[in-house]
Symmetry: C2
Subunit: 778 residues, 2 copies
């Protein structure tokens, strides 16, 4: 095992030089000779029959090269619809989106036709004058109404609007209620919002002379995108290369292979010219996936000391108009509900409902924020009912340290058990209280009150399953030149993934991270790969890089031992050199690599295979769970309803930090995302399911002034499930934010029960809440 | 082991559809946006000091973008000279060519500067008016004079014109002569000629936005070219991709990384634009490497029955003006001399001389044709001296079948022994006599004589070491789509290599060859590789493909057994399907591949790693030797000196034929090449070392009318050195052609001794010979 010189250090990010100097290249920075720009004609209404298009006038615009509908793509597509992506669940065949609308349009923004022109402006002009002959049908916007038996159908060919119904639970929950000292009921909703990466979706598809295609895309999943495009376009893998240039955030919005990407690729093949499409922000609001939007109705029971006995209820999940990727969000949410707590009995009836809205697939957190919100609000409600402190009820219910590893009674959708693999949940709760100076809070509250300000404090916990398999790929290769490259199917989107992989490889090879190049998400460089989601990459790709690097290290030492006539056990790799320990005898990696390649002057040592590289596809045995404890202090202005965050502290278990500063940054970003969910982001639709918040002026994103200093502390409880001991942190930060803020706001207002059961909590919502309470009191 | 359904069959070539329909893409078929065309200013004289260039007028031509000299490339090159390629021998540092001439020009055609313009015509126009200020120096054209101690230097900074001198031999050769019954002296030369593939050299170097370079080249050695370019341009391997499109023949001319390729690549980086250079035929005559040109002086001794006792002598090899690739040709030739015969004692003094001519590196045969010519002429001379038949003397000297494997007393340059691994040489001789109807020859001769025609018959043998290591690469990959691709560093140049690799893989995977795509010589697709030379590819790459395919087969069967709930031993792979033998239960490769990739609906079977591919870099333990016996019947016109080949037969051992028709075609091509060496190809220089045969009108290539029907018969003596048992046949065909024809011509003319000691044998040469004999007789 190599000495850890780089793992665990906050080394500077290898990505930052290019990013800070404006040298990063996002897909919109790329072009190709003869490129055609695509603009999509989209459905203007939430539900209509498509009768026909009048393309004549649009086609006559100079610069318009083609306008294509679904029928025009038949020659290059094997299927009219997207495949069901990334899951094996059998769902009805008519559930995935068409590549372009066929007979019926199911949400505002659904792509109907594509215009290809010599500029985007021309393409948009043409798209705007296409005559669209449609027969409006009843749109279904309200989720609760949608799942009623007599609801109008979201799609005329489907049997109903409930895509799937299932139960999750264990033990005798009704018996639990019979024994309970206290119980509460809650009716909760966390509203849908977008992912809103700073860079939207985008694609540049270039056909090559051999009938193949190079697709440059801002996808989170280069290899998955290739697999689906290979199937849809009937190409060999070797003829379709998906390359991800620099990618400016994903958060789930780029997890899907979208109709636009298929259409651009198919059009490029059909027309024999490069096709480029860059999503604009309005398109992101209309046609990029969204998440959250679940309606929870639950009852919770506890004993006299506030210990949970059972929870039962129902949940409706809004899938939107199509299901391109499965219904895992609903399952995730209800299985995330117990969180880091001991819940003896549980039963939930779940329905996945459909509405005439853009589909939902995972946005950062993937159902866990909804489950966490529901549990944390449950605990606050029970604390009030029992009459104990909100922190105390958590302490009483957290899985105790001595029960870790803790096999919960739940199973994942694939049937595997859900086991919390390492950690000390009560310790993390204590640490976050210390971090926010919980002990000093009442003094601060009193002082603020004297100045006419209402302070409140809230605490919430969450735990996220991370490091999802089945595997991620890595190839570590030392070229004949001695230069080191790491290839992986994992996909950086701004997290610093390349830095982390370079640190891991650097420790094995005794090389500073900035001397290791990491190439990600290019199917031309590594045959296998999956990509970025579920806080998986450092866990799974990192483990693959660690193992492949160790194999390269071993071979390098073996060759060096041969060349130096030394024992392999006496050799260390330091600063790009193999040295006999305690001497100045050494040989550099270039010479070792030359020998491994049988280069002139360096014959292959006996018994050594050519090359100096290793490939690894680490397959984790299960998810690894990192618990996070959050505490927030807020100031509430009762007149304006404005909530100001004054302090925020997080302690989050990351197993082992490869780069502490990057871990902190991930948690920080998650908290900011959670603040948006808690207070700002609201995707509003009118009663015709027409989206009304389609600009960043109407849809509020968190900006710097709303974000307090966030005190992020890392806890390290190494996971036994991977060689690095790491856990994912990409999503964890956002889970408990909304319930922590809700709790703090209630505390500031002196509300004892969990009155806030719906987020985001806008100033008008807060004023409504205050007025209702005043009326109750009166 | 898979059933052999495709190996051993003359399956149609997978290459031919594209080639015959004009869909093949050679480097000159490719372009890139903004491409600049290169033309080289070349030395007009064989030896001169370069004092300066007047570029002003040339630079002013519209369309000229840049004119670059060596000094202009300093910023992008780490070295001014080519590296010594592909060998580890230490030679003087001033022996390899400059990338562009520096102070001194050493041969006509040496590149001095490059013009980059928007068309090749403009670039050539500009190059033609560059003023070149030079001081002529004494050129050294004659090889024998060049190696004299008082010869003027080929290069003013070198100590002399002998690059290296060495001895090869074994046993007490002088003692052999003392015991000999007979001895002969011969003074022989096989003249230099070009390789002349139908497609010349060419390169298109495209810089990319990341500071990297994609080099499309007609090279025989994609991975070696990358290695040298990486070093010269100081790039990482991952930033430099060398891709070979379709390549129209090599024959050694594309074995070297040339100055033009380095200059085009460096210019592309320097100017940030694609640069294309396509060699024209005149440049091929001037600046592509040549071979042969050795001066042999030997004495040979035998016993009273004509059994060889010893051979001694000296040889001078012409290396030309530089040594870009080493001096292996001289070594090859003298170690090839014994050929398939038992030679008890041997001693040769060898000098590698330099002249002011274009460098020599291996052309098809790589020294073996020269050694074979010398031995076969020796045997003919001894037969005459002893007074026995020319066939009989061969029969008496061939290594007997029972001595195989036969460890010769010689060593290769690396010190390894030279061992003939399998075969039956006398049997092959008998077979070729039967093939040409040797028994019926005297009747044919008599009948021809009645018609006034002089017929003669000649027989010669040769043996070629093939399948050179250290390794060749293969990756066999079944994509998630189920489509199969074979990647290799081996390089097809027209031989049908892709077909052979597809046959080998096809047998393992139960797939017809036309359902397997083979991608060769693209450093972007496979990290390791070497390339095409030394009749190595089917042997070494074929073995890698066989082993990698077997590994993929094994994994596919394991997965199929799991999916079919069957025993792996009961499963066969046939027609793209895994079937339970004797049933119609099966599963296709697509489903197996989907399972291997954990695709939706097909989870990874327990214990199976992701992916369905294998990589192999087979390292042969030694060269494998395939013997060839040739017989030729000629008609000679004494008045015109015209030699007409009337019958030609070859029996050649290929170990195992992967594709018999392709093996025959390789041998056929080799014979045709040998006919050129024997009768036509002559690279003439004047007394100033100025080449005078620089068009195909002056330099005669063999064309169809000169080629008789060649009866090629394959013998199969499987090699024990590789899993397929194959031997290389790319070069073998050309080895014995010249001595067989010389022998037949002498036989036609009634010449008993080996009077023809120099090839090519032109009609005037023949008439000179006849006149000299008439004078002797008079």
């Amino acid at each position: 095992m190599a000495e850890r010189r780089y793992i665990g250090q906050s080394t500077p990010r290898v990505e930052d030089d290019a990013l800070l100097r404006g040298k990063a290249r996002f897909v919109d920075d790329l072009t190709a000779p003869g490129v055609l720009h695509a603009a999509f004609l989209r459905s203007p209404v939430a539900h209509a029959r498509l009768l026909g298009l009048d393309l004549e006038e649009a086609r006559a615009i100079p610069g318009v090269v083609a306008i294509l509908t679904l029928a025009d793509l038949k020659d290059v597509l094997t299927e009219e619809r997207l495949p069901l992506q990334f899951i094996s669940k059998t769902l009805p065949p008519d559930i995935t989106p068409y590549v372009l609308a066929k007979d019926e349009m199911l949400y505002v923004g659904e792509p109907v036709a594509v215009v290809l022109a010599d500029s985007r402006a021309t393409a948009e002009d043409a798209a705007s004058i296409i005559g669209i002959d449609l027969e409006e049908m009843t749109p279904v916007g309200d989720l609760r109404a949608a799942v009623e038996p007599d609801a109008p159908p979201v799609c005329s060919t489907r049997a109903g609007n409930v895509c799937e119904a299932f139960e999750v639970g264990y033990a005798d929950v009704d018996a639990a209620f019979r024994e309970a000292a206290h119980s509460v009921r809650l009716s909760m909703n966390q509203h849908r919002g977008g992912a809103h990466p700073i860079e939207g979706r985008g694609i540049l598809a270039e056909p090559d002379a051999g009938g193949g295609l190079v697709v440059r895309s801002s996808t989170q999943l280069a290899h998955e995108a290739r697999a689906f495009l290979v199937a849809l376009l009937d190409l060999d893998e070797n003829r379709l290369r998906v390359v991800t240039p620099d990618v400016g955030g994903g958060f789930g919005a780029k997890f899907l292979l979208y109709p636009e990407e298929v259409v651009a690729s198919a059009a490029a093949l059909l027309l024999g010219r490069p096709v480029k499409w860059i999503e604009d922000r309005r398109e992101h609001f209309l046609a990029a996936i969204q998440e959250r939007d679940q309606l929870w109705e639950i009852e919770a029971a506890c004993d006299a000391e506030g210990r949970l006995l059972g929870v039962r209820g129902s949940m409706i999940h809004d899938a939107g108009a199509y299901v391109p990727q499965g219904i895992n969000l609903a399952y995730n949410a209800v299985t995330a509900y117990p969180g880091p707590y001991v819940l003896p009995a549980y039963h939930m009836d779940v329905r996945v409902g459909m509405t005439n809205k853009v589909p939902t697939i995972p946005v950062r957190g993937a159902g866990y924020p909804e489950g966490t919100f529901a549990m944390e609000r449950t605990l606050d409600a029970l604390a009030a009912r029992v009459g104990i402190d909100r922190v105390e009820i958590r302490r009483r219910n957290l899985v105790p340290a001595e029960s870790i590893p803790y096999a919960t009674p739940l199973k994942s959708r694939s049937g595997a058990g859900i086991t919390y693999d390492s950690g000390d949940f009560p310790a993390l709760l204590d640490q976050v209280l210390e971090a926010i100076d919980h002990a000093g809070f009442e003094a601060r509250r009193a002082e603020a009150a004297r100045a006419g300000r209402r302070l409140g404090i809230g605490v919430a916990c969450g735990i996220k399953g991370t490091g999802r398999g089945p595997y991620e790929s890595a190839i570590v290769r030392v070229g004949r030149s001695g230069k080191v490259t790491v290839f992986t199917g994992a996909m950086p989107m701004g997290q610093g993934l390349k830095t982390a992989m370079a640190q891991i490889c650097g420790d094995a090879l005794g090389l500073p991270p900035d001397r290791i190049e990491v190439i990600c998400g290019d199917t031309g460089t590594i045959p296998l790969g999956i990509g970025g989601f579920a806080s998986r990459q450092t866990v799974v790709a990192g483990s693959s890089v660690a193992r492949a690097s160790a194999a390269v290290r071993e071979k390098a030492i073996r060759i060096a031992a041969h060349l130096l006539e030394a024992d392999g056990g006496d050799i260390e790799l330091v600063d790009g050199e193999a040295r006999v320990k305690g001497t100045n005898v050494g040989i550099d990696l270039r010479a070792i690599a030359a020998s491994a390649h049988g280069s002139p002057g360096y014959a292959l040592p006996p018994g050594v295979d050519p090359g100096l590289e290793a490939s690894e596809n680490f397959m984790p045995k299960g998810l690894t769970y990192g618990m996070g404890a959050h505490a927030v202090e807020v100031a509430v202005d009762e007149e304006t309803g404005l909530v100001t965050l004054t302090r925020y502290a997080v302690v989050n278990d990351c197993g082992r930090a490869i780069n502490p500063r990057m871990v902190e940054a991930q948690i920080h970003g998650g908290v900011v995302h959670g603040i948006g969910n808690a207070l700002f982001e609201y995707m509003d639709y009118d009663d015709q399911a027409q989206p009304v918040t389609t600009t960043l002026a109407d849809y509020l994103m968190v900006t710097a002034p709303e974000v307090p200093r966030i005190d992020v502390r890392i806890a390290e409880y190494p996971s036994p499930l991977n060689p690095l001991g790491v856990k994912g942190v990409g999503e964890a930060g956002c889970l408990p934010v909304a319930p922590a803020i809700a709790s703090a706001v209630e505390d500031a207002l002196g509300v004892r029960e969990a009155a806030i059961q719906r987020v985001p909590l806008s100033p008008p919502d807060l004023i409504d809440l205050l007025r209702a309470r005043a009326a109750d009191a009166a």
